[in-house]
Symmetry: C2
Subunit: 447 residues, 2 copies
Amino acid sequence: MAKNTHQPPTGTRDVYPLDAARRRFITESWRRASVLHGFEEVDGPTFEHLDLYTVKSGEGIISELFSFTRTGGEKTYALRPEFTPTLARLFAAKAGSLPKPTKWFTLGAFFRAERPQRGRLREFLQWNVDMLGDDSPAADAEVIATCVSLLSSLGLTPADVRVKVNHRYALQQWLVQRGLEVDKHADLFKILDQRGKLPEADFAAALAPFGFNTEQAEIFTKGVVRLTVDDPAHKGPGPSPEVVDLTFFAQAVTPLAQQFTQMGIIDWVDFDLSVVRGLAYYTGMVFEVHEASGAERAIAGGGRYDNLVELFGGPKTPAVGFGMGDVVLALVLQDRGLMPTDAELLDRAGFAPDVFVISNGQPESDEMVRPLCAALRRVGLHARHTYKATKNVGKLLKDAADSGAKFVAIIENAQLATLKDLRSGQQDPAPTPISLVPEMIRQRLGM
Amino acid sequence: MAKNTHQPPTGTRDVYPLDAARRRFITESWRRASVLHGFEEVDGPTFEHLDLYTVKSGEGIISELFSFTRTGGEKTYALRPEFTPTLARLFAAKAGSLPKPTKWFTLGAFFRAERPQRGRLREFLQWNVDMLGDDSPAADAEVIATCVSLLSSLGLTPADVRVKVNHRYALQQWLVQRGLEVDKHADLFKILDQRGKLPEADFAAALAPFGFNTEQAEIFTKGVVRLTVDDPAHKGPGPSPEVVDLTFFAQAVTPLAQQFTQMGIIDWVDFDLSVVRGLAYYTGMVFEVHEASGAERAIAGGGRYDNLVELFGGPKTPAVGFGMGDVVLALVLQDRGLMPTDAELLDRAGFAPDVFVISNGQPESDEMVRPLCAALRRVGLHARHTYKATKNVGKLLKDAADSGAKFVAIIENAQLATLKDLRSGQQDPAPTPISLVPEMIRQRLGM
């Protein structure tokens, strides 16, 4: 038969055991941060009716979606590109019986039909954290604190990553106060969303029609903003108050800054007026998490979306949340040397055995290897044995050590086995009845 | 704006917190059984090139697939209906550097474009366990032992579920010995695969052209087979050796039965000649796990597929494995009262807080609620507080108890809080400095 060689589709991944252990490290960290902050898990289908996405974002989004009509079918579906529309449906369907606020997280596979590049794949994992039914700055801060808790639990510090916060509504009010009509805001936001993709001079020039000269444009190009109202923590490199008067904007975001201070996360936060987020549905606070030097794409992004649940048939409900993908996060952890070593990852994933069972080479001992493994597994122990034909006990002991096993059980005959603790190197002075080995190992492991 | 009401696609599920906790209970049980038996996790893309599935199963499978050409795209993809082709690719790509045997498991979402019915959805979770590079009956038995370990860990017993084992190669050799030519076997297997879907009399009648009279057909219709060679554990209700001589078949499966005995799982196993599995790629042992009364679809199914890796471009490699879905398993657990209670599920998922923080109602105490929660979370504790406006400490204590919290911290003023253990009902006689509360709770939880 002719050989076939198959490849995974462009932008998707084959996941080998070490990749799976790395993935599990990230998803379990996401889960722990969610749970510590009182969020409960939800999920939805991997594919949805296409109109779930077009109702909110218009037809323009279709080119970025894996949208499809099933061969032989009629309905048009899409692989989910994000979780928020599904979340809005889940909430709208049960809004009357849910607690206020409702705090939900999810984690799973999402899909984008873009050209794959560094930090961006067609299939990726994403963590979503959302809080519905609370319109306070405290809710905004609680969601960001959950994000910061995750970053911190992975060993990242405010020197490694920055949480760049803006406030769309406050920004818009301030722009109106400066004389920019509301119907021009969307055009300005489109340009702001291109910061980092345009050369800096072109970017600054593009801001001129909106009433910002080159010097004033620094509030958008420099990233960090110098706020002036009662916010000593934020003395960014942006232009001085004489060049741009941000008093009005600063007043609007002061309650948010106070919450960040109260929750102990103000050190992680910069106010950055260029962060507006592409999606049309944000209504208030928006934020992105970036590697400090700006070298990678955003690690996470989100904000407040107070009109969305209503759009999906639910009651008007304030909401705030964010998403974080696994791809950029893993790149940042690897760059900073914060991804655990392979051995640590395998141990965390439970892949290092509790016991490695070997035979002393006698046929009656060989016969007991699998039954002892079976007995160990029945009491919840991770047991392994060799599949090699060798009878060389020295080689088998080395295999046991290489597997990362905590104990080795050397079967002496049909009744007896000798235990050795591979961490201390200590071997028992006398053998143990095989039937007692499982309980003895459990005791020594404190189970 | 007009209200939209959206529904998940037919045969898919919206997953609320209790559903998620139930799902996590099953997936973590799958993971634990895999790890205890020395299997390591792998995974692949959620969608694949369509030809990955047609190369093995022919074009006929397309109608059961979610196959699609992306809107505006050219390549034809399919949402994965099963894991084995992906597994074969993973193995073929690295066969030279992988251990012998290679023991892999995976768990995730799979898709079938069938009409949804009891026990069968269009999107479901599936656990796969595979052992590659070992052609021994011991490998067959080890894979089945992993499946039995999962069933047993969930509280199921041999009285609840039966592992129905057959051997396609032994069956075929025996059929040839009885005079049925090999080119008729596929037709017979097609009929055998319909057992349970046809009325029993029609099924038995359909076997006549293959050389089985009604009395002899009982080896297929009765399910459990009476084996005669040295296999005292299997005295099923099938016809006596005078009606059908199964000696030849029994000899072929004796090594397998011996392995089941050695691994302590023989009580779970029936030999059932009607189990042939639909998929064309099985070459030896095949099995299905069924609820004992036969009331539901198969809980799990698998077998040996020694030619598949080669078909995907790898070296000729013996392999054996199985898949288990979440839908039928959950039905059986619920029917038997073995699904944990809602409270147990939420506790297992970590949704019961370690600490519930409440204020005594003074403004300076109110101010400390969120900072204390933040401090508790920073040391890895799951902390919650109320979002209600009430200052009634009695009501707040009830909310704390309802949340399932282990401790409550009652803030007395800007500096002090009183701890109460909600499990014992014991309240501390004196308050503690707020700054010491996180460490004190960790100590009392033995962290």
